[in-house]
C-alpha cells in the first residue's frame, strides 16, 4: 500500500504546473470552448501546445505520437487538467479518449496512418465528435436505428443522432450504426464507422440547452456515402468494440472531475475567507462535508486507475466513480451557490460582469452538472451497472 506518487509522476506534475503558469490565464474557467468561437480558437492553440509536450495523447504509444505514459502518469495529467481548467485536452469528444485507442486495437493500417497523427498533433482535422445516442436509443443504446447499408464499395448512411457534443466543431464523426437489420438480437448488427463531417448529406442542427449553452447537436444523415475502408474493425461486431471503450472514458473523466471539484472547493474556501462567510458554523460544516466527499472521489478514482495499471479487468468501477461524482457535483454546486448567495443568479455564461463571483464557477456547475450527468450513461444507469456487476443482482431493466 502506498499513497505517494513516484518521481516520474512528481516531475510530470511540476512540468504541467510550469506549463500552466506560462500558457493558461489564472482565471481560466473550463467548459466554454464548444460554445464560443474565441474560446474554441484558444483551446485549439493549447491543444497544439499540449501535443508538442506529448501530453495531448499522453498514454498513446510513441509510434502513434504519444508519450507511452503509464496509467498513473495519465491520471496525474488529467487531474491537473481538471484543477487548472486546461482547455483543448479533449479536442471535441472521443478522438483522444476512444477513437485513437480503438483504432489501435481494431483499425486498419490505413485508418491508423490517417487519423492517429492528426489527433496526436492537435490538428483541427483531429477534432472528433461521437454519434451514439438517438431519439429512441439513449440509455437503451443498443436500440439504435441509424442505418448504414453497404452498396458496392460504399456505405450509405441514413438516420439521426442526438446529443452529439461538439458536432459543430468536429471534422470527423465516430458513428455507431446498424449494418445488419436482420440480426436476431439488437446488440448484433452494429458497426463502427468513420464519417467525414464535410460529406454531402450531413446536416448539424444545434441543440441549445436551457441556459443558452451550445454543446449538444443533432446530426442528420441523408444518403451520406462513405468508403468501405472507413469501417472500424469487423462489420457487425461494433457492440463489443464499443463496450471496451466506454469504460475507459468514464474512469478518466472522473479524474478530471476530481481536479475540477478540488479547484472549486479551494475557490469556495478562499472566497468564504474573503467575505467572512467562513465564520458561519453552517458554512464551515457544509464545506467540510463536501471536502470529505471530494477526497473520497479521489481515492475511488485513483483505485480504479490503479486497478487498470495492473491490467485488471474493469467492469463496474467506472460506474461507481461516475455515479458518485454526479452526486458530488450536486452537493458541491448547492453549497457553492449558497456561499455566493444572490450573486449566483447571474447568467452563468457571463463570467466577467461586475456581479459575477468566481467567474461564475459555482452557478455554472449548478446548471451544468445535471446535463453532464447524462453523458456516457445517466447516474441511474450507472447504478444499474453496479447492481448487476458489482452486487451480482439480476438485471433490473
Amino acid at each position: 500500500m502506498d499513497f505517494h506518487f513516484g518521481e516520474k509522476e512528481k516531475k510530470l506534475r511540476a512540468e504541467i504546473r510550469q506549463f500552466v503558469k506560462e500558457n493558461i490565464p489564472p482565471g481560466q474557467v473550463p467548459y466554454f470552448e464548444e460554445h464560443d468561437d474565441q474560446e474554441w480558437a484558444f483551446s485549439m492553440s493549447i491543444a497544439k501546445k499540449l501535443a508538442q509536450k506529448g501530453w495531448l495523447t499522453i498514454s498513446w504509444p510513441k509510434e502513434y505520437g504519444g508519450m507511452g505514459a503509464s496509467e498513473l502518469e495519465r491520471m496525474v495529467y488529467l487531474e491537473e487538467v481538471g484543477y487548472w481548467g486546461i482547455p483543448g485536452w479533449m479536442m471535441g469528444i472521443g478522438g483522444i479518449g476512444w477513437v485513437g485507442p480503438s483504432l489501435m486495437l481494431f483499425g486498419s493500417e490505413e485508418l491508423k496512418k490517417k487519423h492517429l497523427p492528426l489527433i496526436a498533433s492537435g490538428e483541427p482535422d483531429g477534432v472528433w465528435c461521437t454519434g451514439y445516442s438517438e431519439p429512441d436509443a439513449g440509455s437503451d443504446f443498443a436500440n439504435l436505428q441509424t442505418r448504414a447499408e453497404r452498396i458496392g464499395e460504399e456505405y450509405v448512411i441514413n438516420g439521426q443522432k442526438v446529443w452529439v457534443s461538439a458536432a459543430h466543431r468536429a471534422r470527423w464523426c465516430w458513428l455507431a450504426a446498424r449494418t445488419d437489420v436482420s440480426a436476431p438480437k439488437k446488440h448484433a448488427g452494429i458497426s463502427i464507422l468513420i464519417v467525414d463531417m464535410k460529406s454531402k448529406g450531413v446536416a448539424v442542427r444545434p441543440i441549445i440547452n436551457f441556459y443558452g449553452f451550445h454543446l449538444f447537436n443533432e446530426i442528420f444523415f441523408n444518403d451520406v456515402r462513405i468508403p468501405v475502408a472507413n469501417l472500424v474493425g469487423v462489420e457487425n461486431q461494433g457492440w463489443r468494440q464499443l463496450m471496451q471503450s466506454l469504460g475507459f472514458e468514464r474512469s478518466y473523466s472522473t479524474i478530471v472531475v476530481y481536479g475540477e471539484s478540488k479547484r472549486l472547493l479551494d475557490e469556495l474556501v478562499q472566497y468564504a475567507k474573503e467575505t467572512g462567510a467562513i465564520r458561519r458554523p453552517y458554512i464551515r460544516q457544509k464545506l467540510a462535508d463536501v471536502a470529505v466527499e471530494i477526497e473520497t472521489l479521489k481515492v475511488l478514482a485513483y483505485e480504479t486507475v490503479w486497478k487498470m495499471s495492473k491490467g485488471e479487468r474493469i467492469t463496474w468501477e467506472p460506474s461507481r466513480d461516475k455515479a458518485f461524482r454526479d452526486m458530488i457535483n450536486d452537493q458541491l454546486s448547492r453549497i457553492g451557490t449558497e456561499i455566493i448567495g444572490a450573486f449566483a443568479q447571474v447568467d452563468p455564461l457571463e463570467t466577467d460582469t461586475k456581479w459575477s463571483r468566481l467567474r461564475g464557477r459555482a452557478e455554472r456547475l449548478y446548471y451544468r452538472w445535471t446535463g453532464y450527468a447524462s453523458a456516457a450513461g445517466t447516474t441511474d444507469n450507472q447504478r444499474n451497472i453496479i447492481g448487476q456487476f458489482a452486487l451480482q443482482l439480476p438485471k433490473a431493466y
Binding site: M1, D2, F3, H4, F5, G6, E9, P26, L72, Y83, W84, R263, D266, E267, V269, Q270, K273, I278, R284, Q285, L287, A288, D289, A291, V292, E293, E295, T296, L297, V299, L300, Y302, E303, W306, K307, K310, R320, A323, F324, M327, D380, Q382, R383, N384, I386, G387, A390, L391, Q392, L393, P394, K395, A396, Y397
Partner: protein, 385 residues
C-alpha cells in the same frame, strides 16, 4: 508509487483474523454476550493472546509481534465485520498505542509485555460534556505531597468492569488554556475510591460510568508530561480514530453483504426483490458509500503508518464513517423489510452500535470543524506562487 494493494503478509493476517473471528464469534455469541456480566469471553481472549493479537503492534522487545499500523487497521476492519465484543479496542488501541508512544522506557518495559499477555486496559476520557473538547476535562487532580488525588466522574468508559488498569485523563491545572493543565494517569482499576456503574447502552456493549473519589496516583503513574496530557488525546484523535473508522468500515461491508444476499434471495412478485430498481439503486448507493469509506480509511491509515498523519484526512475518514455506517444500517434494515426489524436478523446488531461508533473519538460536527480549520489555514494551490 500509488498502490492500493496489500502485501502477502497483510493478506495472510486478514485471512487468519477473519477465520478466527468467524469460528469464535458467530452472531449468536454476540447476542449472548449482551447479557454476560463481563461482556466478553475470557476463553477467546486467551486464544487471542496466544495468537499474538494483543501484541500485534507491540515491538518484539516488549513481547509483541512487532507488526505495523496497517496490520492493526486490518485487524480492526475484521473486528468490525464480526462485531466481536471484547475489550480489544480499549486495550490494544486506546491504551497500548499511547503507552507505546508516550511512555518512559521503564513504563513500556513493564506494561507492554503485560498487555501482549492479555492484561485488560481501558481509557477514561469523556465526562458530562460527552465530547472531545479539552474544556470538558474536569476530573480534579490535586497534589498531596508526592502523590496525586483524583476526583470526578468519567462516562462511557469501555469495559471498565473487565479492565485491570485505567488510563485516566485529569485536570491538573484549571487556569489558563483548556488544553494546558491536563495530565494522564495510569491507575489500578481496583484502587480505593473507584466505583463502576454500567450504562445500559443499546448494544449492552459494556460502557460504564466510573467515579473517582480521592483515588490516589503516584508521579510514576503519569503517562507523558504533566500538564501536557492533551497531546495524548490529540494523538488518539488521529491514530485511534482511523482504527475506529476501520472497524466501522468492516461493519458496513458486512451489512452490505448480508443485505445484498437478502435482496438476491427474497422472492416477491415472482422475482428477487434485488431485481427491482428501487432496491437495487439503494444498494448501489450503499455500495458507493461503503467503497468510498473503505478506501478513504486506507488512505488515512497509510499516512499514519508512515508516521506522517494528515489531520484533515483522519477527520474526513471519521465523518465518512459516521455517515456511511448509519446509512448502511438504516438501508440494510429497510431493504430487509419487517424481518430486518427482528431480533433474529443480524443487521440490527450493527444498527444498535451506530451511535456508540458515531460519537467514539468524535462525532461528525466535531470532525467537520477540524477539517475546515485545516483547510482554511492552507494557501490554496491556485494561489501558491
Amino acid at each position: 508509487m500509488v498502490d492500493f494493494g496489500f502485501s502477502k503478509d497483510q493478506r495472510l493476517i486478514r485471512k487468519s483474523v477473519r477465520e478466527f473471528l468467524e469460528k469464535e464469534c458467530p452472531k449468536d455469541r454476540v447476542r449472548e454476550l449482551k447479557t454476560d456480566e463481563k461482556g466478553y469471553d475470557p476463553r477467546v481472549w486467551e486464544k487471542m493472546v496466544d495468537l499474538g493479537f494483543l501484541g500485534l503492534v507491540i515491538s518484539e522487545d516488549h513481547g509483541g509481534m512487532g507488526g505495523d499500523y496497517l496490520e492493526l487497521m486490518i485487524f480492526m476492519e475484521e473486528l468490525g465485520r464480526s462485531l466481536f465484543p471484547s475489550p480489544y479496542f480499549a486495550t490494544a488501541v486506546l491504551c497500548a498505542l499511547p503507552i507505546d508512544r508516550f511512555g518512559s522506557n521503564e513504563q513500556k518495559q513493564l506494561i507492554l509485555p503485560a498487555i501482549a499477555d492479555g492484561q485488560i486496559w481501558t481509557l477514561a476520557v469523556l465526562e458530562a460534556s460527552a465530547d472531545y473538547e479539552a474544556a470538558g476535562i474536569e476530573l480534579a487532580v490535586t497534589r498531596e505531597g508526592d502523590s496525586y488525588s483524583l476526583s470526578g466522574t468519567k462516562l462511557f468508559v469501555p469495559y471498565a468492569r473487565a479492565a485491570e488498569k485505567l488510563l485516566v485523563i485529569g485536570r491538573t491545572r484549571a487556569d489558563g488554556h483548556a488544553e494546558e493543565g491536563i495530565t494522564v494517569f495510569m491507575v489500578d482499576a481496583v484502587s480505593p475510591g473507584i466505583t463502576v456503574n454500567s450504562i445500559p447502552t443499546a448494544a449492552r456493549d459494556q460502557r460504564c460510568e466510573v467515579r473517582f473519589d480521592n483515588v490516589r496516583a503516584e508521579v510514576t503513574d503519569i503517562l507523558g508530561q504533566p500538564n501536557r496530557g492533551w497531546e495524548i488525546i490529540e494523538y488518539l484523535l488521529q491514530a485511534a480514530t482511523v482504527l475506529k473508522c476501520a472497524e466501522m468500515s468492516g461493519g458496513t461491508q458486512a451489512v452490505l453483504e448480508m443485505t445484498r444476499r437478502y435482496a438476491a434471495d427474497r422472492i416477491q412478485f415472482g422475482k428477487p426483490i434485488g431485481s427491482l430498481q428501487a432496491i437495487q439503486h439503494k444498494l448501489a448507493n450503499t455500495f458507493i458509500g461503503v467503497e468510498g469509506l473503505k478506501n478513504l480509511v486506507y488512505e488515512a491509515a497509510w499516512h499514519i503508518s508512515i508516521d506522517r498523519p494528515i489531520k484533515e484526512l483522519v477527520s474526513m475518514a471519521k465523518v465518512k464513517a459516521n455517515t456511511v455506517y448509519q446509512q448502511t444500517c438504516i438501508d440494510g434494515i429497510t431493504i430487509h423489510g419487517a424481518i430486518g426489524f427482528t431480533e433474529e436478523m443480524n443487521v440490527g446488531l450493527y444498527h444498535l452500535r451506530t451511535k456508540a461508533m458515531e460519537f467514539e473519538l468524535g462525532g461528525s460536527e466535531f470532525h467537520r470543524e477540524r477539517i475546515i480549520k485545516e483547510l482554511e489555514q492552507q494557501v490554496p494551490l491556485f494561489l501558491q506562487p
